[in-house]
C-alpha cells in the first residue's frame, strides 16, 4: 500500500464543554475511496471540516504526506490540494457556471478576464463529468443535481489531490448517482484520494475501498470494505440490530378522502387524476423533474393549478394553502432549509408556525407553545442541545423531525410528504418510516413522494409513477417493484412494463 | 384669485406653444426664459407666486413678449431646464435664480456667450461679470437692520438668542452683519443654533433654549417660518411676556400681526420674494425699449413697523 496522503491522528474536538470527537484516527491514500459513515450527529461533518481546514482539532494532529500540518483555514487546505464539497453548495446563484468554476482563480488576459478560456475549460471539466450543463447558464437556472456536478467540476479544476465529499448523492437521482460514482471511479484511477460520506449504504458498498464508522463521536469500526455487507454497516452505525427497515403495511379503508380530477399545473403537470383512501399510503415515484412535487404543490394550493380537488367530496378552494390546511390536508416540503423551517428562529416558533391559530386567541398561548414543544421533542425524538437553539443548528435528521412535528401540530388527516428522508441517517429513517406507518394505522392518509425506490416500495399500499407531467401508471400489490417503476418512469407504457 | 391650478407651468408652456404658432400675427418678438427653484419652502413659495404673477402682468402690458417658466428641485435639473430653453425655445433673455452658485456658473456663462441677455437674481454666480443684470436682496443689510433694531431697543446686559438658517454663505453673511451691528452694545448673545428655516426645527431648538436659559429678553428668529415655531415654543413655556421676537422676510401672517400691533412681534425685516418681479420687469423693459437696465440692483432690506406694515401686506401671496 502507498503511503497516506492525508491522515488524522488521535484527533479530538470539543465545542465548549461538549466533546464531539474522541480520538479519531484514519488515513486517506491516493487512488482510494474512503467512506466515512455514521448517523446524523455522529461527528462526520466535524471530522471532514477538520480535514479541510474549516475547524481546528482540540487535540491530535493532521498529517499531509506524513508531515504534521496546520490548516489555519480552508484556503490553506485548498492550496495544499485538499478540497471539500459541501452539502449546501458554495455557489454564487447569480453567476454563471463558468464564473463559479473559476471563482477566485479567474483566468486573465492582461487586465481583462479571458471568458473564452474559462468557458472552454469549464466545458471540458463538465464533459469529463458527463454533465450537459451550458457553462454560460446561471447557477439559479440549473437543477440541484447539476449544481452538485458544478461543485465537483470546480474542485477538479483546482487539481484536487484529496476530495472530501459530504453526501454528494443526497440530492441526485439514481441515474445521476451512477454518473457520479463512475466519475469517482475515474478520479480514483487518476490517483485522487477521496473521502466519501453518504447515507446510502448501497453506494458505499459499491464504491468504497475502506470504511470508517463513527458513532457518537467515537470511531467504532475501521476496515477494508471488501466483504462488508450493508446490514453490517447499518448495524455498526446504529449500534443495535436493525430489524426490518419497513414496518408491515396497514390495510387502507374503503372511504375516499381525497380525489383529484384533471389537475394541470402550467408547464409541469397535465391532466392528472387520482384518489386517496382513508388509512392509505400512496407512493409517488418518478424521475426528478417529472412533475411530482409540482403536482402536489398544485393540489395543496401552493401553485396555480386547474382542475378539481375535493376532500371528503367537498371541493377545495383553489390556490389557498390555508383552505387546504383547514380542510385537513398539509404538505411537507422536500426543501426543509428553504421552504420548511425558519433556520434562524428557535424550535418553538418553527413548531407552531403552521398551526398558530390553534394555539392562540387574541394572544399567542405561550405556555401552550412550550407544552407543544415538550410533546414534539418527546414524540418525535428531536435531539436538541438546547430548547432555545435555532432550527438551523439542528442536524438534518432532527430538522426533518421538527418539520414533521410542525406539520402534525396542525392535526391533518391527509399528509403529503415530499422526500421524507433526504439526507437522513438510517436510524432516523427507520423512525420516520415507523411514524408514517403509525399515521396510516390511526386512520390518516399519507402521500409519499420519493426518489428512493426502496422507500416507495417499502411504504406504499399503492404507487403512482409520474413521467413528463403525466401519470405513467398506477401499481398495487406485487406490481410494486423496482423494475416496473423504472420502466414506467422512463416513459414505457404500463402494459409493456407489467408484461416485461 | 383662484389658484392651486394643476400644471401651472405646463399651462404656461402650452400657452407659449400656441402663442408661438400665432406669433407671426401677433408679432411675438422676444421670448424670456425664467428659471427658479421650486416651491419647497415658504419663501420660495412666495417667489414662485410673484414670478407667475409678474409674468401674467407683463404679458398683458407687452403682448409681443413671451415667457418660459421652469422650476427645479435641484441644481442639475435647473441646468437641464436652462439648456432646454436655449436649445428648443430660442429665448432672447434668461432670468435665473441659481439653485446653487457653483454648479450654475458655467451653464449660465455659456448662455451669456451666445449673446442671450442674462439676469441673475438673489444668489450671485461664482464668476463676476457674466450677467447683464443682477437683482438681489441685501443679505448683510438684512442682518444689519435687525441688529440695529436690537441695539436700539435693548440695554447693555440684556440677553438674546439667535436661530440661524441652513448653514450657507447667505446665512453667514446675515449673522455676521447682525453680530457686527450689536458689537459693543453690551447685549449678550446667549446662543446660536441652526433652525434650518424650518418651523419644526425652530420649535425644538427654541424649546431647548427655554430649558437652558432662565432669562431671555429677545429672539432673532431671522425668518418668519422659524418665528412661528419659536412663538409656539415660548407660548408652551408660558413665557410670552418675557421676550419679543424679530423674524424676517415678510410673511403675510407676521406682517398682519405687526400691523395690528402685536407686542410679541414689534418689527420685521424684509427680504422680499418680490425681487423676482423686479428682475422680470427690468428684463422685459430692457428687451422692449431702449432703456438701459444693466448693472447691479440691490433691493435693500427695510424695517417693517406697525406704521408701514400695510405697504408690505400681500393678501394673495401664499407666503
Amino acid at each position: 500500500m502507498t503511503s497516506p496522503v492525508l491522515e488524522i491522528q488521535n484527533v479530538s474536538r470539543s465545542f465548549g464543554p461538549v466533546q464531539v470527537l474522541h480520538n479519531i484516527d484514519f488515513a486517506l491514500h491516493a487512488g482510494q475511496v474512503h467512506a466515512l459513515i455514521g448517523e446524523n450527529g455522529a461527528g462526520k461533518s466535524t471530522t471532514m471540516k477538520i480535514l479541510a481546514g474549516y475547524l481546528q482539532p482540540s487535540a491530535g494532529q493532521v498529517l499531509l504526506d506524513g508531515m504534521p500540518v496546520h490548516f489555519a483555514s480552508s484556503q490553506v487546505a485548498e492550496d495544499a490540494g485538499v478540497i471539500m464539497i459541501h452539502q449546501e453548495f458554495n455557489l454564487a446563484q447569480q453567476l454563471s457556471v463558468a464564473e463559479n468554476i473559476f471563482l477566485g482563480r479567474e483566468i486573465k488576459r492582461g487586465l481583462l478576464l479571458d471568458h473564452t478560456a474559462m468557458h472552454d475549460q469549464s466545458k471540458a471539466l463538465l464533459e469529463r463529468l458527463n454533465c450537459p450543463v451550458d457553462p454560460r447558464a446561471k447557477i439559479s437556472e440549473i437543477s440541484v443535481p447539476n449544481r452538485q456536478m458544478v461543485e465537483i467540476a470546480k474542485a477538479l479544476g483546482r487539481k484536487a489531490r484529496v476530495l472530501i465529499m459530504d453526501e454528494p448523492t443526497a440530492v441526485l437521482t439514481s441515474r445521476e448517482t451512477d454518473i457520479l460514482l463512475e466519475q469517482i471511479d475515474r478520479l480514483r484511477e487518476q490517483g485522487t484520494a477521496i473521502l466519501y460520506t453518504s447515507h446510502k449504504l448501497d453506494e458505499i458498498a459499491h464504491i468504497a475501498d475502506y470504511v470508517t464508522v463513527l458513532r457518537d463521536g467515537h470511531q467504532v469500526f475501521a476496515d477494508i470494505a471488501d466483504g462488508l455487507s450493508e446490514d453490517q454497516m447499518a448495524e455498526t452505525m446504529v449500534g443495535r440490530e436493525l430489524s426490518n427497515l419497513f414496518p408491515p403495511l396497514q390495510t387502507p379503508q374503503d372511504e375516499t378522502v381525497l380525489s383529484v380530477d384533471n389537475l394541470s399545473v402550467d408547464g409541469w403537470v397535465e391532466n392528472v387524476s387520482f384518489t386517496l383512501k382513508k388509512g392509505e399510503v400512496l407512493g409517488i415515484a418518478g424521475l426528478v423533474g417529472s412533475g411530482r412535487t409540482e403536482m402536489m404543490e398544485g393540489v395543496v394550493g401552493l401553485r396555480a393549478a386547474t382542475g378539481r380537488v375535493a376532500i371528503n367530496n367537498n371541493p377545495l378552494k383553489s390556490n389557498s394553502v390555508l383552505a387546504a390546511r383547514q380542510a385537513g390536508m398539509v404538505y411537507l416540503t422536500e426543501d426543509r432549509k428553504e421552504k420548511g423551517l425558519l433556520l434562524q428562529k428557535n424550535l418553538r416558533e418553527n413548531l407552531t408556525l403552521l398551526a398558530l391559530d390553534k394555539l392562540s386567541g387574541v394572544f399567542i398561548n405561550r405556555l401552550g407553545e412550550e407544552q407543544a414543544l415538550d410533546n414534539a421533542i418527546a414524540e418525535f425524538d428531536i435531539r436538541a442541545g438546547d430548547r432555545e437553539m435555532n432550527a438551523g443548528n439542528l442536524s438534518g435528521g432532527n430538522q426533518q423531525k421538527l418539520l414533521l412535528a410542525k406539520t402534525m401540530l396542525a392535526e391533518p388527516d391527509i399528509v403529503i410528504i415530499d422526500e421524507p428522508t433526504r439526507g437522513i441517517d438510517i436510524g432516523t429513517k427507520q423512525q420516520i418510516y415507523e411514524f408514517i406507518n403509525q399515521l396510516a394505522a390511526s386512520g390518516k392518509s399519507v402521500i409519499v413522494i420519493s426518489s428512493e425506490m426502496s422507500e416507495v416500495i417499502g411504504l406504499s399500499n399503492r404507487v403512482i409513477v409520474m413521467a413528463s407531467g403525466r401519470v405513467a401508471g398506477e401499481l398495487t400489490g406485487k406490481d410494486i417493484n423496482e423494475g416496473t417503476i423504472v420502466r414506467l418512469a422512463m416513459g414505457m407504457t404500463q402494459n409493456k412494463a407489467t408484461a416485461a | 384669485m383662484k389658484r392651486r391650478e394643476f400644471l401651472t407651468t405646463a399651462a404656461v408652456a402650452g400657452a407659449v406653444g400656441t402663442v408661438a404658432k400665432t406669433a407671426s400675427a401677433q408679432e411675438v418678438t422676444h421670448r424670456i426664459g425664467v428659471a427658479i427653484p421650486s416651491a419647497t419652502h415658504g419663501f420660495m413659495g412666495g417667489l414662485n407666486f410673484h414670478a407667475q404673477d409678474t409674468i401674467n402682468r407683463v404679458k398683458e402690458t407687452y403682448p409681443q413678449l413671451d415667457f418660459v417658466l421652469a422650476t427645479a428641485g435641484d441644481a442639475s435639473k435647473m441646468v437641464n431646464d436652462i439648456e432646454d430653453m436655449v436649445a428648443t425655445r430660442d429665448i432672447d433673455a434668461l432670468v435665473v435664480l441659481p439653485f446653487e452658485s457653483e454648479p450654475l456658473t458655467s451653464p449660465v456663462q455659456a448662455v451669456a456667450e451666445q449673446g442671450i441677455w442674462v439676469t441673475v437674481v438673489d444668489r450671485g454666480l461664482s464668476v463676476p461679470g457674466i450677467e447683464d443684470l443682477y437683482v438681489a436682496g441685501d443679505n448683510p443689510g438684512f442682518g444689519r437692520v435687525a441688529g440695529e433694531y436690537f441695539r436700539e431697543n435693548l440695554t447693555s446686559g440684556q440677553k438674546i438668542v439667535v436661530l440661524r438658517g441652513i448653514p450657507t454663505t447667505l446665512d453667514n453673511e446675515r449673522v455676521d452683519a447682525f453680530t457686527a451691528a450689536l458689537d459693543g452694545s453690551g447685549v449678550e448673545i446667549l446662543d446660536m443654533q441652526h433652525g434650518n428655516w424650518n418651523r419644526d426645527d425652530a420649535f425644538n431648538v427654541m424649546q431647548d433654549f427655554l430649558s437652558k436659559y432662565s432669562e431671555i429678553d429677545a429672539v432673532w428668529a431671522a425668518d418668519d417660518d422659524m418665528a412661528i415655531g419659536v412663538m409656539e415654543a415660548i407660548a408652551q413655556a408660558g413665557r410670552t411676556e418675557e421676550m419679543w421676537i424679530v423674524g424676517g422676510a415678510g410673511m403675510k401672517e407676521i406682517i398682519g400681526r405687526i400691523r395690528d400691533g402685536d407686542p410679541q412681534l414689534p418689527v420685521n425685516v424684509t427680504y422680499p420674494p418680490a425681487q423676482i418681479s423686479s428682475a422680470i420687469e427690468m428684463t422685459a423693459l430692457g428687451l422692449v425699449s431702449a432703456t438701459p437696465v444693466s448693472g447691479r440692483f440691490i433691493i435693500g432690506s427695510q424695517l417693517v413697523t406697525p406704521e408701514n406694515a400695510a405697504d408690505f401686506y400681500f393678501p394673495d401671496s401664499p407666503f
Binding site: 401552493l302 390555508l322 387546504a324 398558530l356 394572544f363 399567542i364 | 392651486r4 407666486f49 431647548d208 430649558s211
Partner: protein, 333 residues
Amino acid sequence: MTDITTSAPQAQKRKLNFHLLGPLFALIALIILGACLNSNFLSYGNVTNVLARSAFIGIIAVGMTFVITSGGIDLSVGSMAAFIAGVMILSMNSLIPIMGVGVPVIIMGMLIAAISGFAAGWLNGFLIAKVRIEAFIVTLGTMGIYRSLVTWLADGGTLSLSFDLRGIYRPVYYDGIFGISWPIIVFAAVAIIGEITMRHTRFGRHCSAIGANQQVAVYSAIKVNRVRIATYALLGVLVGLATIMYVPRLGSASGSTGVLWELEAIAAVIIGGTALKGGTGRVWGTVIGVLILSLIDNILNLASIVSPYLNGTIQGVIVILAVVLQREKKTAD
C-alpha cells in the same frame, strides 16, 4: 466544579442580554452625559419636551418596525405625514362653514387623517404585495407624490389651520393628564400595544416569519400578501395618528413638513435592534432608538460643546455605535 452545569447557561443568558440591551445602555449613557452637562436636562420641562417631540417619529417608527420586520421598507412616511396634515387642515377649514367651530370639526379632521393614512398605507402595500413592485421603488415614488401634492395643496406656501379651530385643537398637543402631555400618552400607548402585538399575537409572529423567509411562510399557510398589506396599512394609520398629534403643535403644514422623518424612523428601528433585512423585530428597541435620536439633538442644543456644524457627525457616530454595541460577537472557538 460541581456547579458548572448550572452556571453555564446563566452566563450564556447574561451575555445574550448584554447584546440585546446595547441600545438601552447607549440611552442610559446619553442620559448621564446630558445630566452632567446641564442641570436643566432632567428637569420636568425638558423631559416632557423631549418625550413629546419624539412622539411623532416614535409613533411612526413603531409602525415602521412591523414593515421592516416583515422584510419591507417605507420611504414615504415623512411625505405622507405632510400630505395628511395638509388634507386634514384643508378639510377642517372647509368644514367650519358647515359644522361651525367646535369639537366635532376636530373629530372629523382626526377621522379624515386616520382614513387617509390607512388609504395611503394600503395603497403602498397593495402595489408592493399584489402588483409586486419593489417596496423601495413604490415608496420612493409615493414619497415624491405626497411631497409634491402637499406643496401643490399649499400652493408652495403654508397651509394654516383656521385660528378659531387652533384654540380648540391646541390642547391635544400641549395639554395632558397628570402633567403628562397627550403626545407622550399616545406614544406610550402605541409602543405598548405595538410591543404586545409583535410578541404575543399571530400577526407579529407572521410578520417575523415572512421577514425571515417568505417561502417558509407561504408553505406554512400564512397569507403573506394580506399580512404584508396589513403592515403598510398599519403604518399608514400610525402616520395619520402622528399627524393628529402634530397639527395642533404649529397649526400648519407645508412642503417642508416631515422632511427626512422616514430616515429618522428607519434609523430608530435599526438602532433598536430590528434587522434591516427583516425577520426580527423589537418594538421596545425602536422606542429606545427614537429616544436616543431626540436626546442627541437635545443635548447638543443644551450643551453647545461642539460647533453646530458638527451635530450631524455626533449623531452619525452615536447611531453607528449603538448598532455596533448590540452586535453579537462571533464565537471565537
